[in-house]
């Protein structure tokens, strides 16, 4: 058995089930091993950013690590931005990066680069396999690193000669379930407290416990602005998300004396602005962190503080009304989606300025957002989520500018027959830049560099290029008809929704 087979077989025994592959010449033995491994599905991605974004989506929804196979430093480089996003969402991902043979280093081959340094910029764990006999245990160590709470990115660099040389041994199986997180430190919660929930605290159990605590103590509840995954809709407790607009967020947190970060990052401005500090927490506010096993900690707190209080649940407020037919805008897209969303759907939101929150009475669903802000995540993330949850429909809300980063995710969706409906909210420009410019610059004025038309980006043609049926909606009524069809038919669909910029 060569080193490549030892790596792949060890990953399979450690619980990996899906591998997102962009193959190259240095990975031929890894590919060969992957094709012979039973129970490890290889998904071809024609661009590394698609492979890493899909791995993120799979990791968020499956809870077991997605594996990627990437080609040397240049291929890894194209995957870095979505690995950055995966890290920010604490998504378990194991990268296998093929590299030139160890005997080949220093010759100046065309693709030679410092793979480990590139990987280190986004990984919590990086190792270069040096010996086929240990390559299997290296792979298992990568899984352990990726699944260690709260989850993250681990990268194993596999030089070609380690892959092809004999002497490989598959490592003993790891338990598929990740190690239990450490018990959380206790925090006090009172009327003056605000609980800011992130990570596991945004899953149904954590949300329910937090809701009970808040009702018993009078504390305030917030979800972080850009959660990796949040369960919401009918049957889950209602919760307000902290605004992504720093002025609104600062206003919301004003007067807060005690902030409990339940697996949430400290709220900061995403982008610095002249004359504004970076922190959103008001001066003098005491900050406590609730890390470790946040679900257990919140449930313990709820049992102590609110033993007889039940969590609230969002309910369907009357029949979900389909809005009257009118020209499409971002809020109309949200209304149509809320009216038609199937129970148990997964909603991916990379609509940026066109993102509108769904009402609390929407069917129960998981919402995945871009915690890391590197655009181009949405369509790959949707592909990975659909592979993790083949029985759940996936709706992907995508902005035009972001859609230009990883469009070949649509091809992977078509190739794998994934049940993803992509709605591209096409406002023909970088609306977020127009908005920020108006906030930040003394004399903003228009900028041609923020306009994506002309030429008009035709997303229906783009879908056709990738083998995905595409259509275009200009009104809420058209969108509703197309969305019903897309949800009813198996396989991927794309609907281009032409909307005005919203800012």
């Amino acid at each position: 058995m060569n080193g490549a087979t030892a790596v792949i077989e060890s990953l399979r025994r450690a619980g990996a089930r899906v591998c997102f592959v962009n193959p190259g010449t240095s990975e031929l033995h890894l590919i060969s091993a992957l094709e012979r491994a039973s129970g490890l599905r290889a998904v071809l991605c024609p661009f590394e950013g698609v492979a890493t974004g899909a791995a993120d989506g799979y990791g968020r929804m499956a809870g077991i690590p997605a594996v990627t196979v990437l080609h040397q430093g240049a291929g890894l480089a194209y995957g870095l931005a979505n690995l950055h996003n995966a890290g920010r969402a604490a998504s378990p991902v194991v990268n296998l990066v093929g590299d030139g043979a160890t005997t080949h280093r220093g010759l100046g081959a065309p693709l030679e680069s410092d793979v480990a340094t590139l990987a280190g910029s986004v990984s919590r764990w990086v190792r270069t396999a040096r010996d086929p006999a240990r390559a299997g245990s290296d792979a298992v160590a990568a899984v352990a690193a990726a699944t260690g709470p709260p989850g993250g990115v681990a990268t194993l660099v596999v030089p070609a000669d380690v892959a092809w040389s004999p002497g490989g041994r598959p490592s003993r199986a790891l338990p598929a379930a990740p190690a239990a997180p450490a018990p959380a430190t206790m925090v006090t919660v009172g009327r003056d407290s605000t609980l800011l929930l992130g990570g596991q605290a945004l899953r149904a159990r954590g949300l329910a416990a937090a809701d009970r605590i808040a009702r018993a103590t009078g504390a305030s509840l917030l979800a972080e602005a850009f959660p990796g995954r949040i369960e919401q809709g009918i049957g889950t407790p209602p919760i307000e998300r902290l605004s992504g607009n720093p002025v609104d967020a600062r206003r919301r947190l004003a007067g807060c004396l005690h902030l409990v970060l339940a697996q949430a990052a400290p709220p900061v401005m995403a982008f610095a602005e002249p004359g504004m500090g970076g922190e959103l927490t008001p001066p003098g506010c005491a900050v406590e962190r609730l890390d470790g096993d946040v679900t257990a900690a919140l449930e313990d707190l709820a049992e102590r503080l609110a033993p007889h209080i039940k969590a609230r649940q969002c309910e369907l407020a009357g029949a979900p009304g389909q809005p009257a037919d009118r020209p499409l805008a971002a809020d109309g897209v949200a209304q149509v989606l809320a009216a038609l969303l199937p129970e148990g759907a997964i909603v991916v939101d990379e609509a940026n300025t066109s993102s509108v929150a769904l009402p609390a009475g929407t069917s129960r669903h998981d919402l995945l957002t871009n915690s890391g802000f590197a655009i181009g995540l949405g369509m790959p993330l949707a592909a990975g989520a659909a592979l993790a949850c083949p029985d759940r429909p996936v709706i992907c809300l995508e902005a035009d500018g972001s859609a230009m980063y990883t469009p070949s995710a649509l091809w992977t969706q078509a190739r794998e027959g994934l049940d993803v409906t992509t709605i591209v909210l096409n406002n023909r420009g970088y609306a977020i830049l127009r908005r920020e410019r108006a906030r930040v610059l003394a004399e903003p004025g228009p900028s041609a560099l923020f306009e994506l038309s002309p030429p008009y980006l035709d997303f229906v043609a783009l879908a056709m290029a990738m083998g995905v049926p595409g259509s275009r909606a200009g009104t809420t009524g058209e969108l509703a008809v197309l969305m019903k069809q897309a949800i009813a038919e198996p396989g991927p669909h794309l609907i281009e929704a032409t909307v005005p910029a919203r800012y």
Copy 2:
């Protein structure tokens, strides 16, 4: 004047004329300064890999540095692969990478990353601007670093607060011409010598001098396998390119006793293979390097060794025949192109396994290839070359797999009205992997992971999505008709040429 204006104004005074921009919120002040600068054209690229690949193409053809504006670490990451290629082609490129404000570092903002480390992986020079008063001289230092012989990638990181703060001063103008290279060391050339030409030695003057030397001494002449830029066709001396196939290259170099590397990299296998060493030069071959001002060194040698010998020139051998109509294959594409290539064209070749050398009697042209092997370079490179040489038609030969990396380069071509004809040689798979697998694996067998169909990638629809007229050719006759139209009409065109895999 703020730091951003000082940077942009200094670049303009130092001779920069075009800036390839993918804007983000951290670059608002740089964008604003760029829009106010006269004589510095801002070209919008909807993906960073397009911006950096276009900068490479501009740098290769203009000889003055192209400037990019990239967004933080994630944006730079998407641009790294084509910066790697630019570095291997010794192309002068200056990156301006916006970063969060210095006061914002360490807060854990969503996009926070180690920009300088990422930049260091592909740059010969990296600096972070710290002070608006010095930002102008930082920018000039970047130009000097990028244009220092033989040319390369320089990166200036501009934190947002350095960009927006007052106190900026534009630096004194640099001479637009890059510094002269150092005189080359002298080498001996005799009957046993092989001159391997790269870099500047592949331009008309260097080629002519090398041809004279070879004829006078009996030395052998070769061009490196993947030149960044080579002048060829009618009027230039004929020269054989070293094969990209390591078996063929080793056979060609067998028996070579003395190899002179005239600004060429030592020939090595691009990818290691079991049981094969990495070097292509035979054991015992003496290797001398001719670096520095290689053109002057070759001309000096020619004057000494071949004072009365004129360089040969390729000639038109009879009327350029258009081939008889037949189903299209890669060699047919090359024949049609050779018959129709306009004088002075720029040919970009990222056709990979479908690449077929043009005959020596083709109209004079520059050929640009992918010296760095990171795929996804072709269409951006063509855009940049067209911007550098608006009076010269650009033909881009692109492989289907590589075209999936940076397809939005087509949009930039359409937006700027660039005279680029892209021919996608669609063989529906990663033929290079099929070929390498057959060479390297004991039991190769087919791999579904090397097949890009189904679903069929429809490049005509992709062109339409990006605002470029597209068409499809299945025979040499169809290709000739479409190519004539594309060359005759201004602006970009795409022709999908369906070809069988060639390996």
